[in-house]
């Protein structure tokens, strides 16, 4: 899956972005575009700020520096209807699932439809059920989130993120806690939606097999340097990244997970691993 020309219109532009929590900078100097219709992966070791980037792009936090533009509009500055207009383009599945605990799975998936469409109850039910079908969860439609396993909650959250057929879907570690088969199914779903509906996907993940299967481009963050260290197609990064740590990230063994730039010699292993 290489870059094709139709995927070159930037839909999200991150410019000179920095993020801080309570005065402590966790990321700085990030500049990149996410193009319309691509599957964009945010990768990097644990705690390097992947979820942070995601949460800033969807406007939950204001950047400590720089700008984030969605379709040319600054999400930080957008207020009222403008902001709703931007949010309406997004579907988000959080790392923790974040299902509404007092609603059933079906009601969770219905909620965005209730808020944004004028469909009838029956129409919303059938749409929501179809979304649940896509993540093989229609059996659990009537259950409360607390009655689901971790992986099922993840999938329900993904169904909710997709319920309005958003332009851009953000998934924070969607396959964490899923078995390899379900996880591969999820990759297929992402690719299907991406190809048929031209949905843009921004996915945070560590799963190398998944990255190589679905990614158009990968943004690699590094906790030690607190910034991005690479942005390119995964094959290119694996084979010819100038940065040793990035090559190692894409070549690591299942067990020898690289965590910082300083130990690049310690765990350099042969290619393959989980792939």
């Amino acid at each position: 899956m290489k870059q094709d020309p139709s995927k070159s219109r930037p839909i999200i532009q991150v410019q000179g972005f920095a993020a801080a929590y309570g005065g402590r900078t966790v990321l700085k100097d990030l500049t990149f575009d996410i193009n319309q219709g691509e599957v964009f992966i945010i990768g990097g070791g644990s705690g390097c700020g992947k979820s942070t980037v995601l949460k800033h792009i969807i406007g939950l936090y204001d950047p400590a520096a720089g700008r984030i533009l969605v379709d040319g509009q600054d999400i930080t500055a957008a207020q009222g209807e403008d902001r709703l207009g931007i949010l309406r383009k997004f579907g988000v599945a959080y790392q923790s699932g974040a299902l509404f605990g007092n609603m059933t799975v079906l009601e969770n998936v219905r909620l965005p439809l209730e808020e944004y469409t004028a469909f009838s109850d029956a129409q919303m039910d059938i749409i929501a059920l179809t979304k649940l079908r896509q993540v093989s969860l229609e059996q659990a439609a009537g259950k409360l989130p607390s009655e689901l396993s971790g992986g099922m909650q993840k999938r329900a959250a993904i169904a909710r993120a997709m319920s309005l057929d958003p332009q851009i879907v953000f998934l924070d570690e969607p396959s964490a806690g899923l078995d390899p088969i379900t996880s591969a199914d999820l990759d297929e779903l992402i690719l299907d939606l991406n190809r048929s509906l031209n949905m843009t996907f921004v996915v945070v993940t560590h799963e190398l097999p998944s990255i190589f299967r679905i990614a158009d481009r990968v943004l690699v963050l590094d906790a030690a340097r607190k910034t991005m260290v690479a942005l390119d197609a995964p094959d290119t990064l694996r084979d010819s990244s100038p940065d040793a740590w990035v090559r190692q990230f894409f070549n690591r063994q299942a067990t020898g997970e690289a965590t910082s730039a300083s130990n690049e010699t310690a765990t350099a292993k042969s290619a393959g691993g989980k792939i």
Binding site: L84, L87, A98, L99, N102, Y116
Partner: protein, 357 residues
């Protein structure tokens, strides 16, 4: 020179510590060579022991070396090289009283600011909702009203009854001294209608519902449900706070009225025991409190309900992360709910006095 042989694990740890670390500490060697060639096994505790030896020697600029490291132990033993154990283990110094005081003051001021911001946001949302009534989560509001109101009726009535009974009973003694026991209905009815009724109701509401609001919203904050709402374009204030506050607004006047009524009934029990007739009692009560008093009592109840529900929701939204956070929020919801209720009571008292209500 130190030789470690056999198993260095949590079983032999204490003894090994006695024999290696302690003497080392008393008399720090300039150079310590630890021979581990005869060591068969080393677990986390053992690594800790080696780290401590290394730290002691390093802190007096001595030299530490491991000798005879077996190949299979090499990577494991490398982990006893902590980068800067002194810095990592140093506890933050206890802050002085001035600093603590200053921090406390800053926190209180910050909190007041947040409360004011929250009130503004809530009012703005309420005005907006008045123009978009269909956006109100009616189901949520009614469910909350049932939980906070209908289900609280029993305890509100019981406490009202007991408070009336106790007030009458406690005033009966002193009043008997002056022979003015017929004053009991007047005193008790003024007290319960204007003060005790609304206050007791607010305190029950704080304990039952303010805490519940904080816990519900706090849990949603911890599990990122609040963030999920925001990205759906649903403001938590509109989606979660307004239904709860409106529910409290509906139920508190009713609860306050029940509470007052039960207090007056409770006080009658004492009067009846003292031999006064029901008609006398009713006459006295009607003479003491008019409709104006009753309305002012109910109005207070309304304001208190607003405060308790609002602060419960705010504390929920302020929840920080971590396992204890929700518990802290509920505590804070109850405490600040009651404190602010009583502060408001004082303010309203002064206000009513000058307005001659």
């Amino acid at each position: 020179m130190l030789t470690i042989a056999g198993r260095l694990d949590s079983g032999s740890f204490l003894q090994a510590w006695e024999q290696s670390v302690e003497p080392c500490r008393r008399n720090v060697p300039r150079k310590l060579l630890v021979d581990v060639s005869a060591m068969d096994y080393c677990d986390g505790a053992g690594l800790g022991l080696l780290s401590e030896l290394r730290r002691i020697v390093a802190s007096s600029h001595g030299k530490f070396e491991l000798a005879g490291v077996r190949e299979e132990h090499r990577r494991l033993l490398a982990m006893s090289e902590l980068t800067d154990p002194d810095a990592a283990l140093r506890r933050p110094a206890r802050e002085g009283i001035i600093l603590t005081l200053g921090r406390f003051a800053a926190e209180v001021m910050g909190d007041i600011r947040q409360i004011i911001t929250f009130i503004g946001e809530l009012l703005a949302t309420l005005v907006w909702m008045a123009r978009h009534p269909r956006r109100l989560r009616l189901g949520d509001m009614l469910a909350t009203a049932e939980k906070a109101g209908a289900n609280a009726t029993g305890v509100v009535c019981l406490l009202g009854f007991l408070v009336g009974l106790i007030l009458a009973f406690q005033t009966a003694g002193p009043l008997a001294v002056y022979g003015v026991q017929p004053m009991i209905p007047t005193i008790v009815s003024i007290a319960v209608v204007r003060e005790m009724g609304p206050l007791i109701t607010a305190i029950i509401l704080a304990g039952r519902s303010g805490s519940a609001f904080a816990a519900e919203i706090g849990t949603m904050k911890v599990t990122e449900e609040l963030n999920a709402l925001k990205t759906l374009g649903l403001e938590p204030v509109q989606f979660l706070v307004v239904p709860r506050v409106l529910a409290a607004l509906i139920v508190t006047p009713v609860l306050t009225a029940f509470n007052i009524l039960m207090s007056i009934i409770g006080a009658y029990i004492v009067m009846a025991a003292l031999g006064y007739s029901l008609s006398f009692y009713i006459n006295q009560v009607m003479g003491a409190v008019g409709l104006g008093d009753f309305i002012s009592g109910i109005f207070k109840g309304l304001i208190f309900g607003l405060i308790v529900a609002g602060i419960g929701c705010l504390r929920g939204m302020q929840t920080r992360s971590g396992p204890g956070a929700v518990g802290d929020s509920t505590t804070r919801a109850v405490v600040s709910g009651i404190v602010l209720t009583i502060v408001a009571d004082a303010v309203l008292g002064v206000l009513f006095y000058y307005l001659h209500i």
